[in-house]
């Protein structure tokens, strides 16, 4: 089956029609209700263009999954060594599968998390207890974080200007990796696990965050290693 030009509400899988799926060749996208998408993926239909066909192969047999949290709605991507699909809410309760190349996916993830120029946050990392992190973020308070006065003031200023808190997780069989960022008007801080249920919050910059985000596929066994 070929999607052809324009939007087709179609979808054949193993010869049986999958009702309610729209193929948009121009956007290399398939959308429909979650049930229709599941039925579509259960089949073997590979509509044109080639990028969409490649993305659907990745969706049917992913080597890794990426999940972005901290946005208005979570974002998921299914990836193999050649292509990916980004799973997007399409409005009206529908789901869209947008096919991407590996670099296309990374670019869309960068756009989704809103990575942009920020001042270079000064100072070294601070360490907080995992149990205190939820309160730090949800209440935007550094009080009782167990920090000395200087670091508490520094973290509080960052939280007062917080613009976002996002995390991208990558999972492949037997391996996982993540990139978590506290994004504020004053700068970017990464959040990393450390031993004994503690987290390290490290001031960084947008260049380092982009470099690390681009390296995520390599960390879960896809694409070139850094």
């Amino acid at each position: 089956m070929s999607g052809g030009a324009g939007h087709d509400r179609t979808g054949a899988s193993d010869g049986a029609p999958a009702r309610g799926v729209v193929v948009d060749p121009e956007r290399a996208e398939v959308r429909g209700s979650p049930e229709a998408i599941r039925a579509f993926l259960a089949g073997a239909d590979e509509p044109d263009p080639p990028l969409l066909a490649a993305g659907l192969r990745a969706a049917r047999a992913p080597l890794a999954r990426f999940r972005v949290s901290g946005l208005k709605e979570p974002l998921e991507a299914l990836v193999d060594g050649h292509a990916a699909v980004l799973v997007l809410p399409a409005g009206g309760g529908e789901t869209a599968l947008r096919a991407c190349t590996p670099s296309g996916l990374l670019g869309l993830l960068v756009r989704a998390v809103g990575l942009c120029p920020r001042p270079r946050a000064a100072g070294g990392p601070v360490v907080v207890d995992v149990a205190r992190m939820a309160r730090i973020v949800t209440e935007r308070t550094a009080a009782d974080a167990g920090l000395d006065e200087r670091d508490e003031e520094r973290l509080q200023a960052h939280l007062d200007a917080l613009a976002g808190h996002w995390r991208i997780e990558g999972h492949a069989p037997g391996i996982g990796w993540y990139l978590e960022v506290l994004d504020s008007e004053l700068g970017l801080w990464t959040v990393e696990d450390r031993p004994e249920k503690h987290l390290t919050l490290t001031p960084t910059d947008a260049t380092a965050v982009l470099d690390e985000l681009a390296a995520l596929p390599g960390h879960v066994g896809l694409g070139p290693q850094a």
Binding site: A28, S103, G104, P117, D205, A206, T207, L210, D211, P224
Partner: protein, 142 residues
């Protein structure tokens, strides 16, 4: 006319290809090349320094980006012993490809220079350290 030198560090072609805009592109050496939406490498462009103050404003020029471009980062930097402005920009072609442009703009030896490290974003983790290291070796002289 000013000339430049850079150390290809074994990852870039010594002889550049001259592109349509006049920039000299030192492509990756053959073993490092991979399919992608752009020709990965390091390009160097020298132009006459604009006479007007606006044209000499490196920061304004660096931050002027196109509709398909995403400015990720910028900072004051130094290259070839001169003050420079470094930018990191993504060029996005929907889901089809994302290309990284890391650029340094500077005035040196009477000309305006733009040095650009470029690669497909999926290849960036492997290539960026070498491209940045090669850019850092740039020398210019009148």
């Amino acid at each position: 006319m000013a000339v430049y030198r850079l150390d290809p560090l074994g990852i870039l072609e010594t002889e550049p290809v001259v592109l349509d805009d006049g920039s000299a592109l030192h492509e990756l050496v053959e073993p490092l090349r991979a399919p992608g939406a752009s020709r990965a490498g390091l390009s160097v462009l020298a132009e006459p320094v604009p006479e007007d103050e606006e044209g000499r404003d490196l920061t304004a020029a660096a931050l002027a980006i196109g509709p398909d471009e995403l400015l990720i980062d910028w900072e004051a930097a130094e290259l070839a012993g001169e003050p420079a402005v470094r930018t990191l920009v993504l060029v996005q072609l929907g889901g089809v490809a994302t290309v990284v442009l890391e650029q340094w703009r500077l005035l040196a030896a009477g000309e305006r220079w733009i040095v650009t490290a470029t690669a497909d974003l999926a290849l960036w983790p492997r290539l960026a350290p070498g491209l940045r290291a090669a850019a850092a070796t740039l020398e210019v002289e009148a």
